[in-house]
């Protein structure tokens, strides 16, 4: 159960890796593009569109949302955090419009998972296999892309923007494209999650970034982050472990309502401990003098 979720939410973490780690762009669109993917897929599914096209449409919608955030930042010069928050807010209304209500049930209609659920085995096994294949296919494609000419330019945009501009790269374009790809992955995850859990909901994206960051931090401490391949692997591995920790926590009595707080504290500790350690070292150092 947590393995299947970890894999599919790994796509969100992968998207966040592209924005936060590759482009160095703290993109908050994610909380809106995740339910966007779910909303687009769910609405089209109940309209009778074949599930595979619904998923494709969800991916495209996420791509478009990411591009919008990129445009706000590069063309209108809106601060990156604010650009993401603006898009997230706008998407809330967009998602409601797409769904026509605050949630859509998918339990009684055919989804991409229906053929797997009709197999004569425990539903989780084929679904885990499918999500595993999708997560790793996306990871490998990302790895390949980030080693192409455009991919190198995109990584350099996040590393040293001035330098890659003097080499003739329009960094506005690489930023917009990168955010598009990032949110396309997030929306893909949203579309799959909606079908897996049997409904799309307007609130399904709340706290998605923080959970994704927690996953990445966990993954990076285990897998490392030296190469692109490791960074993308860290996203998936981290996401699986994060979901595992959460399910253990819930089983040990953590209230589901406290989940987001627990995740937040996890991220705060992970980000804050290095700073605290440094400060302590500084103090010790001063005492030594």
């Amino acid at each position: 159960m947590s393995l299947e979720q970890g894999l599919v939410y790994g796509l969100v973490a992968l998207g966040i890796v592209i924005a936060f780690r590759i482009l160095s762009f703290p993109d908050l669109t994610v909380d809106g593009s995740f339910p966007l993917g779910g909303a687009v897929a769910a609405r089209l599914i109940i309209e009778g569109v074949p599930p595979i096209y619904c998923i494709a449409a969800a991916v495209l919608s996420g791509f478009a949302a990411g591009c919008c955030t990129g445009l706000l930042n590069t063309k209108l010069k809106i601060n990156s955090l604010l650009a993401g928050i603006l898009m997230m807010t706008v998407l809330y209304s967009v998602n409601l419009r797409i769904m026509g209500r605050s949630n859509i049930q998918l339990l009684t209609v055919d989804t991409i998972l229906t053929p797997l659920e009709n197999l004569d085995i425990n539903r989780f096994i084929p679904i885990i296999c499918l999500f595993f294949l999708i997560a790793f296919a996306v990871k490998f494609l990302t790895d390949i892309f980030l080693h192409t000419q455009v991919g190198l330019a995109m990584r350099a945009t996040g590393d040293n923007e001035q330098m890659i501009r003097t080499l003739g790269v329009n960094t506005d374009t690489t930023t917009i494209l990168g955010l598009g790809i990032s949110n396309a992955f997030v929306a893909l995850s949203g579309a799959l999650v909606a079908q897996d859990q049997g409904f799309a909901d307007i609130g399904m994206g709340i706290g998605m970034i923080v959970a994704g960051l927690a996953s990445i931090i966990i993954g990076e401490t285990i897998v490392g982050l030296k190469t692109v391949q490791r960074k993308t692997l860290a996203a998936i591995v981290g996401s699986v472990i994060y979901k595992l920790i959460i399910s253990v926590g819930l089983r040990m009595g953590l209230a589901p309502t406290d989940l987001k707080m627990a995740t937040g504290i996890m991220v705060i500790l992970a980000l804050g401990i290095p700073a605290l350690k440094k400060e302590k070292q500084g103090k010790l150092h001063l005492r030594g003098v």
Partner: protein, 259 residues
């Protein structure tokens, strides 16, 4: 051939901090010229390079590269004509990427970038070859992240990157100033060698008067955003530090310039 016509650049116009950085400057740079530029702090040297490269746009005046007017062209669109090295060794390379990836990005300066492999096999051998010439052992470290290199190694790599696709104009802004004397010397020799081998047209800003006299065929002094003197040929070869100081001592209060 680069032509600069009466350019002017004022920062923070209309505020009390208003600062005229470049004040009606004109300069013709024939192909093959190697110009050294001196001038005290705030004279406008870096601003001049920024205007040529398109980091800033001049308020007035025009800039031509090979008779193409580039005055208002964005930085990334004139990159194909220009190679540039900054004073800070960290600024010229992407630290998290490998040596070969950095070279591959420079290889495509100003060219279309598509979905081919970033580092191609054929070029990798060439990169190894030119790295070997640096004699820093980098030819065996193609897949090392640039963050692992020393400042001198990084600046040498930047030099290769800036000259890899033979720019029409090479812009150097005190590119050896942040290095220790021995490394700086090495980087300067390498710079001269690459410039001479490829007869690159070059503008080199330096705070070191001896360097300014020793290298290049032409020397310019900037003062308050304009050219104070512009000498070349015989006159430059026979110049001594003392002469310059005697003539322009007043404008050259800057100590580092006299060292």
């Amino acid at each position: 051939m680069v032509k600069i016509e009466n350019i002017r650049k004022t920062f923070k116009k209309g505020t009390i901090d208003e600062k005229v950085a470049i004040d009606g400057l004109s300069l013709d740079i024939p192909d093959g010229d190697f110009i050294t530029v001196i001038g005290s702090n705030g004279a406008g040297k870096t601003t001049l390079l920024n205007l040529i490269s398109g980091t800033y746009t001049p308020d007035e005046g025009e800039i031509y590269i090979d008779s193409l007017q580039v005055t208002r062209l964005p930085e990334y669109r004139r990159a194909k004509y220009l190679g540039r090295i900054f004073q800070d060794p960290l600024m010229g390379t992407a630290a998290s990427m490998t040596i070969e990836e950095n070279l591959a990005m420079a290889d495509l300066r100003g060219m279309h970038r598509g979905f081919k492999w970033g580092v191609s096999k054929g070029r990798r051998d060439y990169y190894r070859e030119i790295l070997r010439k640096l004699d820093l052992g980098l030819e065996n470290r193609l897949k090392d992240a640039v963050s692992l290199l020393s400042g001198g190694q990084r600046q040498s790599l930047t030099l290769l990157m800036a000259t890899l696709s033979l720019p029409h104009l090479l812009l150097l802004d005190e590119h050896s100033a942040a290095l220790d004397p021995k490394t700086a010397q090495r980087v300067m020799e390498l710079t001269e060698q690459i410039i001479n081998e490829n007869s690159l047209t070059t503008i080199m800003v330096t705070h070191n008067m001896q360097q300014a006299i020793k290298y290049g065929n032409r020397m310019i002094m900037l003062h308050k955003g304009n050219i104070q003197f512009d000498i070349s040929g015989e006159e430059k070869t026979s110049l001594t530090v003392e002469e310059v100081v005697k003539k322009f001592g007043a404008e050259l209060k800057d100590e580092t310039l006299l060292s």
